[in-house]
Amino acid sequence: MEPQMKRWKGSVCDADSLVAYPVLSDEQSQDVELVEAYAAPIVNKKETSRLIRELHGLYPLNGLQHIKRVRACKGKGSPHPLEVLVCRISDAPDMKVASIDSLLPSDRVNHDGLGEPFVVKVPTRPPLTRPQFELASRHWPTSFHEDKQVTVALRGELFSSHQKAMMHMYMMTALTAANAGKELGMEAVGAVVVDPVLERIIAVGHDCRGAHPLHHAVMVCIDLVARSQGGGYYSFDSYTACKFTPANSNMCEGDSQPYICTGYDLYVTREPCVMCAMALVHSRIGRVFYGSASADGALGTKFKVHAQKDLNHHFEVYKGVLCKQCDHLDILDHSIRKESSDGRE
């Protein structure tokens, strides 16, 4: 499949501007949720560790394990150096006016070193991404187990220029396949499966639903990958733009046999539907890159099948890759379809 590589070399130079936005789970992308709580100043620093211990005994803050019990007061004008979280308002006993006496029975917590309570808002969930962490920290400090790759991906700095050039080339190949399918009267969707380690295209496919209603580009590619491994059920030989590279041509001794789509990346011009997204889970795809979002899309729009709890395989998804070209494909496709159906009536 060298020809595509050469053919698109001219456009590789603008690959540096290529973008790929990570499609994160709902938990990773949601806003920071806050709950009201009582905090109190620590006026005598020496009492801090005792206060933490006694407060923890009385109000263990179950479900808020990510919250730091004590925060430093950064403002220079602050009369006290530290503040401690006492309890959620919902944990506190009924009282007319919040006071340390009503919040903390003196037989459980010795009030020495504590000032009068005030209301703060604290994040209810542990932050999962750096943006969530930064937003949460504005309210009250939390712990944060950073996934560095997600942070870098959100900054748009995950891929090197070489990787971007390859991604550009792969998506251009998918676009070419989409156009080939369109010429045959299929929907303008193309897909490419790649071995990112060997930097090799394993399969190229396009939508074939004119011949079989379930032969979406992704389903076609999955069967072509099976063909490349000596399996496969369908024959797409009559579609010249649908092709595969046999897995064993080029394999070194000691290389493990490929197993379905394990370790492979998929490039597809349009966000996969539910069927195709779940087919990718079953096929254990490594990563998915797509161009345009689709109305019923299952990798970000309607569902996030790649991050769905309970499923036995999860994968990374990036969207917006060459989205202008991919959107253009969709727009053309819809206008052609509209024209032809208008013509029929």
Binding site: L214, V274, Q308
Partner: protein, 182 residues
């Protein structure tokens, strides 16, 4: 049975039909189990006639999408071609009888082909697309065919027992599980 949304009367298999066809589906599942295959039995019935049936063909095709339902749907399409009948009008009157809840992928495929009714035995907690993992059968997906009606729970315990018996054996084709979970 009437419909709220107008149009044709809702297509729904009767109790006697369910009894008959599910018995056949369970026979298929038991056969599969005895041959060391995934114990799922599945058939598609149009006007009292079996127009498609399938068993899981994932291992021999190395294509992880070759679930019994996908195989059966292919047979329905072939049957329409051979009988020179319109796919959509046949599918709209075809019910699926299957021993286990179809997975998310198969549920979406059934929608795309406008299958109106699915009768199944037990839930599929790992992959189910009719409510267990996602509810694809009734989700608002205007570009993904039509929603379908589910009749669930027929001989469910028996279906579960067969699956348990199968999963006690190992899948020799699957890669060794990694110790560290991501």
């Amino acid at each position: 049975m009437g419909t709220e949304d107008g149009g044709d009367a809702a297509f729904c298999p009767k109790d006697a039909e369910i009894e008959t066809w599910m018995a056949k589906a369970f026979d298929m599942a038991r056969d599969a189990l005895e041959n060391g295959e995934v114990p799922v039995g599945c058939l598609m019935v149009y006007k009292g006639q079996v127009v498609g049936k399938g068993r899981n063909e994932v291992n021999e095709t190395k294509n992880a999408t070759r679930h019994a339902e996908m195989v059966a749907l292919d047979q329905v399409l072939d049957w329409c071609r051979r009988s020179n009948l319109d796919v959509r009008s046949v599918c709209e009157q075809t019910a699926l009888y299957v021993t286990v809840e179809p997975c998310v992928m198969c549920a979406a495929a059934l929608r795309l082909l406008n299958i109106p009714a699915v009768v199944y035995g037990c839930r599929n907690e790992r992959f189910g697309g009719c409510g267990s993992v996602l509810d694809v059968s009734s989700a608002d997906l205007p570009q993904t065919g039509t929603t379908f009606k589910c009749v669930s729970g027929h001989r469910a315990e028996e279906a579960v027992e067969m699956l348990k018996a199968f999963y006690k054996q190992e899948n020799p084709n699957a890669p060794k599980p990694k110790t560290r979970k991501d």
